[in-house]
């Protein structure tokens, strides 16, 4: 039995005694990325299905906020860098093995696409909108012809973006809690769910809100399933992963995870959505905001707990 351990000459800032290299910036960046991915996914999907008039908030209104979300997210990432002026170096290399690298490139593709999407719908959302130059109108009418093709691109890239927000963590085998392939689909489902919640919050149409409450309910079920699955995987794995899981099963992250993420973020909004679909009158902004809150908490808790889980010592 290992009884005692003394490390001398070691006190590296942010590394000892607990690794804390990523603070609020990275989880915020991942939350905003997932939310943007969710909104874009539904916008593209319902455009492709030809339902833009049935679901105006999904296709036209909610995507207006996406460029802001992405820029805010990239700014958070930028704040996290210690060598900020070298930011551009991310874009002089393509390293497929590095999730940070392909995440940066995915955002490079998604951000302009989100701008184009918002620009193509801005006149419908804000009828008084005028472009400062005729050039933009010309450009708009050209791009409008290819809107379905653009929608397909957005559909594919939004899924990549959503998965990436989880894979960024799961690629780190040094942190047993992150090192599970479930995080990719889990963060994708959570991103889609927060996207659906944002659409519900912005929607004025009863049918659209009901529709997205149903979609959200499905996604919450998927998330709960994945979370159970994740713990089953951990508990059936090596000691380091069992230790990692125990951070959530009796350890110091137990209460925040089960209360904030699972309780307030998944179970309670699911119950409220079921009640609402059963015609009880429950303001939609309650479940919508809870889902967004759960999405933020999920990223923060996984980011922090992951850094608390380790192989050595």
């Amino acid at each position: 039995m290992r009884e005692e351990l003394i490390i001398s000459g070691r006190n590296n800032y942010l590394i000892d005694p607990v690794l804390h290299i990523w603070h609020w910036q990275i989880p915020l960046y991942l939350f905003l990325g997932g939310l943007a991915a969710g909104v874009l996914f539904f916008a593209a999907l319902f455009k492709i299905l030809g339902k833009e008039n049935e679901y105006p908030s999904a296709v036209k209104i909610a995507p207006m906020i996406v460029p802001f979300l992405l820029i805010l997210g990239l700014f958070a990432l930028f704040l996290d860098l210690k060598h900020k002026l070298y930011f551009w170096r991310l874009y002089t290399t393509i390293k497929l093995q590095s999730p940070m690298s392909w995440g940066a490139w995915t955002l490079m593709a998604v951000t302009p696409l989100s701008f184009i999407w918002a620009a193509l719908h801005v006149k419908e959302v804000f009828p008084k909108w005028k472009w400062p130059h005729k050039m933009f109108d010309d450009l708009e009418s050209i791009l409008k012809k290819y809107i379905l093709e653009i929608a397909w691109f957005i559909l594919v890239f939004s899924v990549i973006l959503g998965v990436y927000t989880g894979i960024l963590f799961s690629a780190f085998n040094a942190r047993p809690l992150w090192n599970t392939s479930i995080l990719g689909p889990l963060f994708l489902a959570s991103g889609l769910s927060t996207g659906a919640a944002a659409i519900m919050l912005l929607s004025k149409s009863e049918t659209e809100r009901k529709r997205f409450a149903k979609i959200d309910l499905m996604l919450i079920a998927v998330e709960l399933f994945l979370i159970v699955h994740m713990f089953m995987g951990f508990l059936a794995s090596t000691q380091v992963q069992i230790d990692a899981a125990s951070l959530f099963l009796g350890g110091e992250y137990t209460a925040p995870f089960w209360i904030f993420v699972v309780g307030f973020g998944l179970v309670i909004p699911a119950i409220l959505e079921i009640l609402e679909l059963r015609k009880y009158h429950i303001p939609v902004y309650i479940s919508g905001s809870l889902v967004l809150f759960g999405g933020i908490m999920l990223r923060f808790i996984i980011a922090n707990a992951g850094q608390a889980s380790r192989w050595l010592y």
Binding site: E3, I6, K82, H83, K95, S98, N173
Partner: protein, 177 residues
């Protein structure tokens, strides 16, 4: 060429001379370190065993830090030594999160820093500073592809282990047991 280091846990007394030598040699900023000494007590009273290890970056053959680095700043240099190019590093911290040995730290100047096996000395035919200064001579350094190098010789004679081999990083820092 494949540089490696072996540390004799039976000879190490935990004086931390290697830590100070490294800090001086490499201008490590105050409060940080590239190598450190670990003291582990194993067993249950009264059968106790103590192991002292001088640890540093393992210069892994399959380095997660090199894999995760988005800019290519972390790379393999001559003889498999893992280095960080401070000009290319953006300080994203991906490599720090990916090292199971916590061997890296963020230098106050913004880039990530860690043990280099004193490549600047090795190129001149000298030993790394920690090896050169150790008063009990418990460290061996050299090229594993050269059967006559001190590290090859001692690894042939003695039993050894690496740290957390199950992480799959293939470390080049051996501990004689």
């Amino acid at each position: 060429m494949r540089y490696a280091m072996a540390v004799d846990t039976k000879k190490c007394v935990g004086c931390s001379d290697c830590v100070v030598a490294c800090q001086t040699e490499n201008n490590v900023p105050i409060g940080f370190c590239r190598d450190w000494v670990v003291e582990v007590t194993d067993g249950t009273y009264p059968q106790l065993e103590i192991e002292i290890r001088s640890e540093r970056c393992n210069h892994c053959n399959n380095s997660p830090c090199v894999r995760c680095c988005p800019t290519g700043a972390s790379h393999y240099s001559d003889g498999g030594i893992v280095l960080v190019n401070s000009e290319k590093c953006i300080g994203c911290g991906a490599c720090i999160a990916s090292c199971p040995y916590d061997a890296r730290y963020s230098h106050p100047d913004g880039y990530v820093d860690k043990c280099t096996f004193c490549i600047h000395r090795v190129k001149k035919g000298q030993d790394p500073a920690c090896v050169a200064v150790c008063p009990t001579k418990c460290m061996y350094f050299g090229d594993l592809d050269d059967p006559k190098s001190p590290v090859s010789v001692v690894l042939k004679k003695r039993k050894y282990k690496t740290l957390i081999p199950e992480a799959g990083t293939q470390p080049e820092l051996y501990f004689l047991i």
